[in-house]
């Protein structure tokens, strides 16, 4: 039962964080929300008994991709509708 509830909570969190990535105009907030999305996705892989994929997703998705986005924001602008 507790696994069922945890599963539902993780799935709701996935949808909410994905909507936040879409809604945010601040790209740094969107990058952090994407990191949270990747972290919840790795938790979902773990619940579905794929710990190998979960570790890869936590390392690549939550760690590396967020760092790449933050470096890209450092090199460009932080706001989506900034005037050039």
């Amino acid at each position: 039962m507790i696994e069922y509830i945890a599963h539902i909570v993780v799935l709701i969190g996935l949808v909410v964080s994905a909507l936040l990535v879409w809604r945010f105009r601040d790209l740094l907030s969107a990058a952090i929300a994407f990191g949270i999305f990747s972290f919840l996705l790795s938790l979902e892989f773990y619940i579905l008994q794929a710990p190998d994929v979960a570790i890869a997703e936590a390392g690549i998705g939550a760690g590396l991709t967020t760092a790449i986005f933050i470096l890209a924001i450092k090199g460009t602008t932080r706001w989506e509708d900034a005037e050039e």
Binding site: A54, L64, I68, L71, G75
Partner: protein, 154 residues
């Protein structure tokens, strides 16, 4: 530019623990979930945390591009030469020639159900170490080259 003091302090605190965890995943790759790629990715995440937290000059001073690139070459060479060494013993390509020889990682596997011994697996943990070295070098070099493109504005 440097990140804020909070980010730098947290990165300094977390750095050794992330490296040890990545090394643990690589070393236990033949017993538990994970392996060379996952452990190398976690290890590279620790290095990239330091690269993101500090400015470009400091990051390049700490992690040299040449050393990381040599890590990548060394990992690939060790992987292929371990696979080719099996041919010298008269067996097939990728044959597990270290298993059951008593060398490092060469102990026999205990019969029956058991949690597993670190000193088993033959050539598999050695190849995991090679793949881990290769992945951490490659991913860190990618981030360092990306950062070098943005250093004018930073």
């Amino acid at each position: 530019m440097n990140m804020s003091k909070v980010v730098r302090a947290a990165a300094n605190l977390l750095f050794p623990f992330i490296l040890i965890f990545g090394l643990y995943i690589v070393a236990h790759g033949h017993l538990t979930p994970g392996g060379g790629f996952q452990g190398g990715a976690v290890f590279a995440t620790g290095i990239i945390l330091m690269i993101v937290a500090y400015r470009y000059e400091t990051a390049v001073g700490r992690f040299s591009k040449d050393i990381l690139r040599n890590c990548e070459f060394a990992g690939l060479l060790i992987f292929v030469s371990l696979a080719l060494a099996a041919l010298a013993f008269g067996t097939g390509f990728f044959y597990n020639w270290v298993a059951d020889t008593g060398l490092i990682f060469g102990a026999s596997v205990a019969p029956g159900a058991n949690p597993g011994d670190l000193n088993t697996g033959g050539v598999i943990p050695l190849m995991n170490l090679a793949v881990g070295l290769e992945v951490l070098g490659a991913l860190s070099v990618i981030i360092l080259y990306m950062l070098s493109g943005t250093r004018e504005e930073a």
